[in-house]
């Protein structure tokens, strides 16, 4: 990463805490607008609880609809947040510095949004207690751990707890800055309580550096397991064509990375646009993430292709019938074409051009397209498979989402956006200490007649230099 602006620590504090310590004009209307959408979604959910799941479009044989497609989508988005943060930390990529926090926070809100939908889908969410406690206390009958629906909450719960704690630990130094700069006594006390008395001793900084790397190394295997387990919700079923596939786990993971990294790029563009963070998120950052996206998108497309090859190679007639339905029959055929065009055909060739990669506007719109496409991908995995579930004519069916389902799905999008806005109002979306560290560690060295930027690798203990230099 060559491109940077040399800033003082005070300037970094002023610029990155400006929107935390003051209220931007657009903030309140945005929060109210999103709050109304969230309230409408929750109202629709209350209506569903009162009248029963009959108000959804779910019916035999399609018992999984918008809710489950949306669940898989948000789990996917949540993945790249921590994944991108963890991999960039582990590889000590310089361009990670302004990106990691927003990616990690997006993970937390996306996971909560993801958990919404299956809880709503079951119709009586309070009965989720039976996943933890015996559902028959007298006889002590516990949940059946052989069911993927018990694996799911254990994996997603682990991931949510891990990513929330990860975000909290990495926030400590920045909360300490807020403690020092907040105006009101009450607010100051809250920040003082939250930062746990962080003062910035060499020991605390050393452990912060190790924490980032160690937690990244621990969260990555969880990240891989979560989407594998989500894919097994489908893949372990032997009765549904199109689902029972060994490729599902890696295919779901790479799909999650594709949509998630796109969401991070979209978030970076929004940060530049809404919070005027041009001094921190530069065209070089967009260039770097777009290059990553080209690799991820191409790998995803390869897995997508393989999934189809494996399905068609069997020449199994129900499987071929399902693929015909997915790709050529109304209404799934047009959706399939839109999905492929939006998630690969339009964005990837565009990202091959440097001019487009370095443009926040182009990156914003292309990554939005990717995520529309990837939502459709999940829809096309879940619903057509169930539509053809049985060969008995009376059981053939289709699925039309009801208004209640649409409102709840829209609510999840508004919830994540609202969560991010509220978070950015009380805590910084760009890690100040990480940016400052980049400034301290960045120097200019002379190589022959050329002056070039150079960076010290963080986290190396004394003895490394003693031994090697």
């Amino acid at each position: 990463m060559q491109e940077h602006t040399q800033l003082s620590q005070k300037q970094i504090n002023d610029e990155l805490l400006r929107d935390v310590l003051t209220v931007p004009k657009w903030w309140l209307p945005a929060v109210v607008g999103l709050g109304i959408v969230v309230a409408t979604g929750l109202g629709a959910f209350s209506y569903m609880v009162y009248h029963g799941v009959g108000v959804t479009g779910l019916n035999r044989p399609v018992f999984w609809g918008f809710f489950i497609a949306n669940f898989v989508f948000w789990i996917g988005i949540s993945h790249a947040g921590i994944m991108i943060s963890a991999i960039l930390r582990l590889t000590q990529a310089e361009w990670r510095r302004p990106v990691t926090r927003a990616a990690e926070v997006m993970t937390v809100f996306s996971l909560i949004a993801a958990l919404h939908t299956p809880l709503f889908h079951v119709g009586r969410p309070w009965r989720v207690l039976y996943w933890i406690f015996p559902y028959d206390f007298d006889r002590g009958i516990w949940p059946n751990i052989r069911s993927p629906f018990v694996w799911d909450p254990s994996a997603v719960g682990t991931y949510l707890i891990a990513s929330s704690l990860f975000v909290f630990v990495c926030l400590l130094p920045d909360i300490a800055i807020l403690r020092d700069r907040a105006k009101g006594l009450f607010v100051k006390r809250i920040y003082a309580f939250l930062c746990l008395g962080f003062r910035g001793t060499p020991r605390q900084w050393r452990l912060q550096t190790i924490a980032g790397i160690l937690l990244s190394a621990l969260v990555l295997p969880v990240f891989v397991s979560v989407h594998s387990i989500v894919s097994w919700d489908f893949a372990v079923l032997i009765g549904v064509e199109g689902w029972h596939s060994t490729i599902f786990a890696p295919y779901f993971i790479i799909g999650a990375i594709h949509s998630g990294v796109s969401a991070v790029a979209m978030l970076m563009a929004l940060a530049v646009w809404l919070y005027k963070l041009d001094n921190y998120i530069k065209p070089d950052h967009f260039d770097a993430i777009a290059r990553l996206l080209i690799v991820v998108a191409t790998t995803w497309f390869f897995f997508f292709f393989l999934e189809w090859v494996y399905a068609l190679y069997t020449l199994d007639s129900p499987e071929i019938a399902l693929r015909e339905l997915q790709a050529f029959e109304w209404p799934y055929g047009p959706l399939f074409a839109i999905f492929v065009i939006l998630s690969f055909v339009i964005p990837v060739p565009m990202w091959l051009f440097k001019r487009f990669r370095r443009s926040a506007k182009i990156m914003f719109w292309t990554t939005i397209l990717v995520n529309i496409g990837m939502w459709l991908e999940r829809f096309l995995i879940v619903i057509p498979g169930l539509v053809r579930r049985t060969h008995m004519t009376f059981d053939w069916g289709t699925y039309h989402p009801s208004l209640v389902e649409i409102l709840i799905v829209v609510e999840t999008f508004a919830f994540v956006a609202l969560g991010m806005l509220l978070f950015a109002k009380v805590l910084p979306l760009i890690p100040l200490f990480d940016v400052k560290e980049g400034v301290v560690f960045r120097h200019v060295i002379k190589v022959g007649r050329k002056t070039v930027p150079a960076s010290i690798r963080e986290g190396l203990p004394h003895h490394y230099y003693d031994k090697n230099h």
Partner: protein, 171 residues
């Protein structure tokens, strides 16, 4: 006897390093003085000692606890109501492995977080001598010692070219 802390602020890395040298020369030991900065610096920038920690033990202990918890939940719940299905064994290993894996990772991560806080000496109830200028780029050198020795500490801090007044506080 209550301890008192004093803080000197510096704008240059070299001055802060000189302050640490002066404190060592004045007979203060590691642990009595500390550096406070608003950003991480490469280790040894100020000639300070490398902090020792045992963080890497924490995830291992956590993983062991999480694994045990996962084993108890999965094996225990199946054995609590032993229903033979299709003539198969009561304990179904593959799903057990999934939940035990998640338990192991959860334990490792929770213990790592506890370890990070413990090894960072957090939470800290009293700030001692502290200045808000530290998070704006000043480098603080703080000394926590018996009341009788604070004057010696102040002298050592001033000799390195402290900016402004010495800040005093109680530990």
């Amino acid at each position: 006897m209550a301890k008192k802390s004093v803080l000197g602020l510096y704008t240059e890395e070299d001055s802060a390093a000189d302050a640490l040298d002066n404190l060592r020369d004045a007979g203060f030991e590691e642990g009595e003085y500390e550096l406070l900065t608003g950003t991480p610096y490469p280790e040894g920038t100020f000639g300070e000692a490398e902090p020792e920690h045992h963080l890497f033990r924490w995830p291992l202990i956590g993983a062991a606890c999480g694994f045990t918890g996962g084993l108890i939940i999965t094996a225990g719940t199946q054995m609590a109501y032993p229903l033979i299905t299709g003539g198969k064994p009561i304990l179904s290993i593959p799903p057990m492995a999934i939940i035990m894996y998640e338990g192991t990772m959860l334990g490792a991560i929770i213990f790592t977080i506890i370890g990070i806080l413990f090894e960072s000496r957090l939470p800290r109830l009293f700030m001692g001598a502290y200045s808000e200028k530290i998070t704006e780029g000043h480098i603080g050198v703080t000394v926590t010692t018996e009341e009788g020795r604070t004057e010696v500490a102040e002298e050592a801090l001033k000799k390195a070219g402290v900016e402004g007044e010495i800040i005093r506080g109680w530990e």
